[in-house]
Structures are given as C-alpha cells and as structure tokens.
Symmetry: C2
Amino acid sequence: MDVQRLELLRELADRGSVTAVALATHRTPSAVSQQLKVLEREAGLPLTQRQGRGLVLTDAGRALARSATDVAVSLAKATALWDEFRNHASGEVSLVTFPTAGQMLLPGVIKQLGADLVLNCADEDPELSDFPAFTAEYDIVLAHSMSGQLSWAGRGLSVVPLMTEPLDVGLPVGHPLADRAWVGPRDLVGETWIGVTDGYPFERILHAIEQEAGSRLSMSQRFADLALIESFVIAGLGIALVPRYTSGGGQPGRVVLKPLRGVESERQIVALMRPDRAERLAVRTVVEALRAEAARVQQAHTAP
Amino acid sequence: MDVQRLELLRELADRGSVTAVALATHRTPSAVSQQLKVLEREAGLPLTQRQGRGLVLTDAGRALARSATDVAVSLAKATALWDEFRNHASGEVSLVTFPTAGQMLLPGVIKQLGADLVLNCADEDPELSDFPAFTAEYDIVLAHSMSGQLSWAGRGLSVVPLMTEPLDVGLPVGHPLADRAWVGPRDLVGETWIGVTDGYPFERILHAIEQEAGSRLSMSQRFADLALIESFVIAGLGIALVPRYTSGGGQPGRVVLKPLRGVESERQIVALMRPDRAERLAVRTVVEALRAEAARVQQAHTAP
DNA sequence: TGAACTCTTTAGACTAGCTACATGGACGTG
DNA sequence: CACGTCCATGTAGCTAGTCTAAAGAGTTCA
C-alpha cells in the first residue's frame, strides 16, 4: 500500500477530477489514472466510478481518502519535527487573502519572517469565493465570517482564529451622528446606505439592523470594494458598515467611525488550512506570525 | 520524504543494527544503508552515527523514528479500513506465547478464526524473555506480569489486557491443608516449596508470603516448567504456586488447588503489540478472539 | 453530427532501488 | 601483533515501477 497513491485519491476527493489532480501534482492525467487503477486493484474493491465524462469516488473511496488525510498529517508532523531539529522553516508558503485582511496583516507579517521562508500571497474577492475550496490550492486561506456562523466547520479543515474585528458605522465628517459616542439601530433609520454586494457577509448585520429598527434601510449602491465604499461615504452619498481596523486604507482619517450597539456587529478573521499542511513548520510559523500581527493591530486600536 | 525510508529508520531503532533491519525486511544490508543515507541527506542532519562496528541513532534520529511510528499507525488504520470494506481479515498473523497461556487460549482461538486468516504461533520460555523485544518479530506477544506491575508500560507499545488469572497453592491429594476452603500465609510456614527459576514473576508472591508469615520459606527445587512442578507436587515432594486455569495440563485433576488469601496472588495476561501492527484488521480480529476465549475460560472456572 | 472535453489504454523511456561483490574500520584471539 | 570475523558502506549493473506521449473511447453540448 503506497502513500503516494493514497495522496492521489485524496486529491481526487478534493478536486473532483483526474485532470485537476494531474495539474495540481505536475503529472499527466494518464499517470494519475494508472496509479488510481493500481490502488483500486490493491484494495480489491471499486474506489471510483464514472459519472458522465468525469469520475467520482465511491463510498469506500471517500472513506479511504479520509483516512489518507490522517496519513498525510502524521507525515507532515514528521517532516515538521525534523525541520524543528534544524530550526529552519524551509520552503515556500502560499496564502490567499481577501483584500482588507491582507492590507491589515500581511505587511507586518512579512517583516516578521526570516529570509529563508518565502511567503507567496494572492488575493481573491470574498463575495464570490468559497473559502474552503481555496485550501486545495493555497497553504493558508484567510477567511472571514460573522461571529458564530462558521460555514466551514466540519469539513475536516484546520481553523485557526486570528482576530475579531468590530464592524462600525462609517459616516462622513459633519454628519449629524458624527459627534455621538455610539449609534444604535433606531438612529440609522432614514439614512441612505452604501451596501455590499449580495452574498457578502456584512449583509446579515444590515438585516439585523432592519429587524431591530423595525423598518427597511434604503440601499443606494452595492459595492464589494471597501475603498470604493469609503469614497462614497466621504463624498456624503451615504453611510456604510466599515471594518474598524481596516478602514482608511484609501484616504486615511476622513471617515468617522461609530461603534454600533444593539446589534452584534463584528467579523471573525480566521486562517483555514488542510490539516496536513497546517502541520508544516513553515506554515505554522506563518500562522503564528499572523496571530501575533493580528494581536498587535488589535492592541494598537484599543490602547489609545 | 518517503515512508519506506522512515520505516527503515524505525526498524533500526527497534533492532539496533543495519544487518538486523536488512534481515527483517528481506533486503541486503547495502540497500538499507543506502536508503538511510538518502534519508539523512534529505533531513539535512545526521540521524545515525557509528559506534564501534555498529550504528546507533542520534537524538534526532530517535525522535524521527518515533514519529515514524505515527505514520505507520495511520497507514495501518487506512489498510484496516479497506479490509473492513471487504470484511475480510487478510493475511497471516504471528504470535508468541509463554507455554501456559498458549495451552489455555490458543486451541479455542484458532477454532474461532476463519479459514482465510492464518495464525502462526510460537512459544518462548517466559523466564528468559524480554517480552517487548519480541514485538519486533511477532505481531502479537502474549505476556504476563503481576497485577499492577507493568514492566513494559511507556515503551510505546499497545497493551491489551486479556485476563487476570489467580495463582493458587497447589497441594498433593491427602495433604493436611487439602480439605480447607482457602489458605493464608501463616498456614504455609514449614511447608517445602517447589519454587520457580530466579527472575520468574511468581517469585514476588513467594516473597510476599514470607513477609506476611514472618519467616522464610524453604525452597527445595527451582523449575520453570509448570507440568514439571506439578509432577513434583503430585509426588508429595512439596507444594507450589500454580496458575488456577492452567493447572492440570499434564495430569488433570491430581493437584488440589487452594485459593491464597492475605496476599495478592494473581497474574495479568496481556497482549503486547507494536501500535501499527495492532491496527491491522487481521491482528485486531485475533486479539478479539483472544479476549473472547479468555473470558470463556474465566467463565468456565467461576460458574461451577 | 461533429467539436470539445474527460478518462483510459498502450508503448516506450527513464529512474529509483535492489543485488552482488568489493572495500574499509573495529573487535577479539591465538 | 597479525589474522579472521563482523559490520557498515561504497560501486556497478539490472529490474521494476512510474512517468510521458499519443491514440482511443465515451459523454456532453451546439
């Protein structure tokens, strides 16, 4: 029984097609197909079956793929162990982030890391994204969710919480509410809102405000990009929900933030990983740096 | 990083020499040496070092070998899983026992097992043996110890308790104590004992009796083989400690057994295994059969 | 029906790991 | 102190397993 073949099965479970697995593992589809066939012959029972022009796993195949994860985890632990003996987090780590978290955390993280650890970052628009799917492609996926609502639980992924970021109400300078210490749902009725694109997680909070205030909010625009939203707020075209630590990325200091009370208004920022990749020393080092940086950012905002 | 190579390192940790590893894995010493060299180059740090004409592991090597066990365990779990899917415990299982346990349990166990599971048994004299060492060679090692005193704990082995067997005092027919319901340490002063070979675990109990009774026991002979001891008891040459369920293997019914009170007098019979081998479905099946048979034997002795 | 896509088959090349044999220290002995 | 023995390691060549490349077979969609 061979680990490489098991790994291939696991990749197939994650990626869903032989071609995708081949692409990901730098092989030809033929090689993958052959190896899966050998595995199946060794197992003595069908692990895959054709469906249309694609290939899907049988129950047995899925079960085996799941236990292949355990193998990968213990293997990763072993390599991590010897990396620790050399104290030297080797290799490259890839990471995807949604824009605001990247802007908030990554510059500080990269400064923390040593020269022999290369961190390759990319960003993806969060509205469109199925965060867990990215774990196949990247070592670390920075994801966000509303508090409590962990949509990716129970998928067999490692989840490391990094920070909880409050979502404030962003107002233009000179707005009637701008000299208040905080605002509540009832204060916000009648305002024009700059909303987020459908499916974006902030939406839930806007709905909660409507619920509390007992009337619908008027939504003039829908954007995904925070800097764009802020520019509209600054121009006096409406108010918006804005993550507290990330605000001001575009034009610093020109949006007035007011804490929102009466509605739970915060987002969780977490790192999502495949369990085996989470064991790599290099990955663990980056995650630790992310946590440290997140704590630093949070500290910097609460201290003054 | 390759699992096979890790496995080799683990074997080296267990067996202590390249030649032994080669022998055990059906390879030439050269092949083993080459693979270890590759592993060392991959690891980037020395895993072994020469000592005299042999080879010993460095600290890093030992640590890595330990984590190799985890890999082997998860791999064994995976193969066990697919054996379960076929419901078919495949292959051969090897087992060593000390004579009395074998006589008590093995015939019943082998009857329980299906035809497609081959159980290869061997026996070893317990007095001489370092039980854990046998786990390198055999899948299952039947071992015994006095209650509580588990000499093999913490060596990273799987231990499955099978039964606790009382150790009674064996008397010849017509002995003055033969009509008593039980005997205590003070009853035994002045008797001539047939003892066990030095280092044999029963010895502890004899010492405890001496302690309780406050005088030394006179020990006329020292044997390892139970049938031999019993033949001496039957001949009226002395009395002896005899495991209750195993007694009478030679000449049934001619030794009178009396429970011993006032001194804890029992032995634990356990199955010892390497953790990875313990995961194999075939091995688990045999262990289960052993437990069932042990329970049956114990039942048969307590019911009437 | 044919174009596009996916998996599989086949044939051939390459490479990793094995054996066989030779080499070089370390230990024990006459 | 030289000799045989034991153990690990180099070297050369072979084999088996795994890859690529190219053709084939089945499915989907226009």
